[in-house]
Homo-oligomer: 300 residues x 2
């Protein structure tokens, strides 16, 4: 089956599970509305799809209870991703008024409530994962939770956000810094998703190591194509195309390399990621190989 | 031994463990500094003291590994408490420039970095607790973690913070709302601390239920005395004493009841909390009984 079709199935499955996990009967109305506003805004739900895709790929499909565990981790990851977007959009960080075609959380609920909606989603991710963990009583599940906490935290995603903010303020971004930031800000959470699915499927150490290297490439590919899409969107808005000499103000892979070279870099990383899968998972990596093109050729 | 003396011992023990847990070798310098700035600012570390006090009281003192588990949860709770103060002080929430006699986190590191320092501390709390959980492999430890997540999250502490912000903005605080906010904002985290220590000590259902009721009273007592201390501090600054008719602008137990009645309410709650302990733990509740006076009669 085509990756887009598989992802549609995963998306429906994850969205249903996520809304069940986010009913919040005991949560005060405004906080609940703020949390659900951003959770329901949706998007591609790439991280949860990766959890399920890796789990299914590694032969876990037949074990119903383990599939549930993968789904629970997928929901936790999506809550964490959603909180990070709310805090990233705040006026004191990126100051973005719009997110996924809707006003960003703080434009609707106010800045203070947006801070709390993010805090609540982050805590809720661990609350729900722990609730399920106590039912499953599976050490691999807790190992996956720890992987998620590490990659989401002070040495992972939040580190990337903090460094990004410093670089924006100081205008001192170079190539090494750009890679360092996006390894943490973007690649770490995709890696957490891929490894979480692998842990639950009982992957071997060799498999985990190969998947980690693949995930790192997928994360960089995601960020570079994101920057390319932004640059082409901006160019369209300005009624002209951006060339290497017309760098925008924002510090991105496009502003660093220019549009053409950024596209070449993306192609190169895609080839490397595919080669990694071909040599480590020669028989069953259709989904993960498909994800490379899905990410590289997406339109938003 | 006097409660103050016991708490001094606990404080030293917790501070040492907390600084070991917060070395953060992989965390970028600015983020690490921002996290440690607030963690090291210290304070009474009431929540960690309660974890250890309840654990020791319920006879767990002799089991070395379980004592370590209690200490690990104590550190997690303190990281969560610290993050909540950083976010509460933000300009878009309480806008406090000072905390524990030092400039608040965002005054030193900037608002965006303060948001991230809080996010990082919250995530780190779960990261460290999960790391230790995998070593201990004890279901009661994970039950305690879940209690902490619930009480810290969208139906606990963050709910209280969100409601407090609404009440401040709308100036519509009444007595029921005031109790509702502080049950969540203050009492829930003290309850989490007390129950965490009790879980690890293997407390019975009856004991847990009695401790939960005690913790709720201790939380309200803490908040009322906090409001009294604030009011008396303000009065001292203005060179006069506050009476029932001179309510300050902030919505507190003192602004609601007046100073004298607030003090009477505090005394009443203290008597109830003590009676609860006397009937449920007639033999070994010295520490928890002492904590009532420690909280009620403190000077800051």
């Amino acid at each position: 089956m085509d990756v887009k079709e598989v992802n549609k199935i995963y998306l429906a499955e994850v969205t249903a599970a996520l809304l069940r996990a986010a009913e919040f009967p005991d949560v005060p109305e405004l906080l609940r509305n703020a949390m659900r506003y951003s959770l329901e805004a949706g998007g591609k739900r790439l991280r949860p799809c990766l959890v399920l895709g890796v789990f299914d790929m590694l032969g876990g499909e037949s074990e119903k209870e383990k599939r549930e565990q993968a789904l629970s981790l997928a929901c936790g990851l999506e809550m964490i991703h959603t909180y990070s977007l709310i805090h990233d959009d705040l006026p004191c960080v990126d100051n973005d008024d719009m997110r996924r075609g809707k006003p960003s959380n703080h434009k609707v609920f106010g800045e203070g409530q947006a801070v709390f909606a993010g805090d609540a989603l982050l805590t809720c991710a661990f609350e729900r994962m722990l609730e399920n963990g106590l039912r499953y009583n599976n050490k691999d599940y807790y190992r996956a939770m720890l992987e998620i906490a590490k990659r989401a935290g002070a040495s992972g995603m939040v580190a990337g956000q903090s460094l990004d903010l410093i670089a924006e303020a100081e205008k001192t971004m170079d190539e090494a810094m750009l890679f360092r930031i996006h390894r943490r800000k973007t690649a770490d959470m995709l890696t957490a998703a891929i490894l979480a699915g692998a842990y639950i499927a009982g992957a071997s150490g060799v498999q985990l190591s190969a998947l980690e290297r693949y995930a790192d490439k997928l994360g960089l590919l995601f960020q570079i194509t994101d920057d390319i899409l932004d640059a082409e969107g901006d160019a369209l808005l300005m009624g002209k195309t951006l060339g290497k000499d017309e760098k925008s103000n924002k510090l991105t892979f496009v502003s660093l390399y220019g549009l053409d070279e950024a596209k070449e870099t993306a192609e190169q990383i895609a080839v490397e990621a595919d080669a990694l899968l071909a040599s480590n998972f020669p028989e069953n990596a259709d989904y993960l190989r498909g994800m490379i093109d899905y990410i590289k050729d997406r339109k938003n």
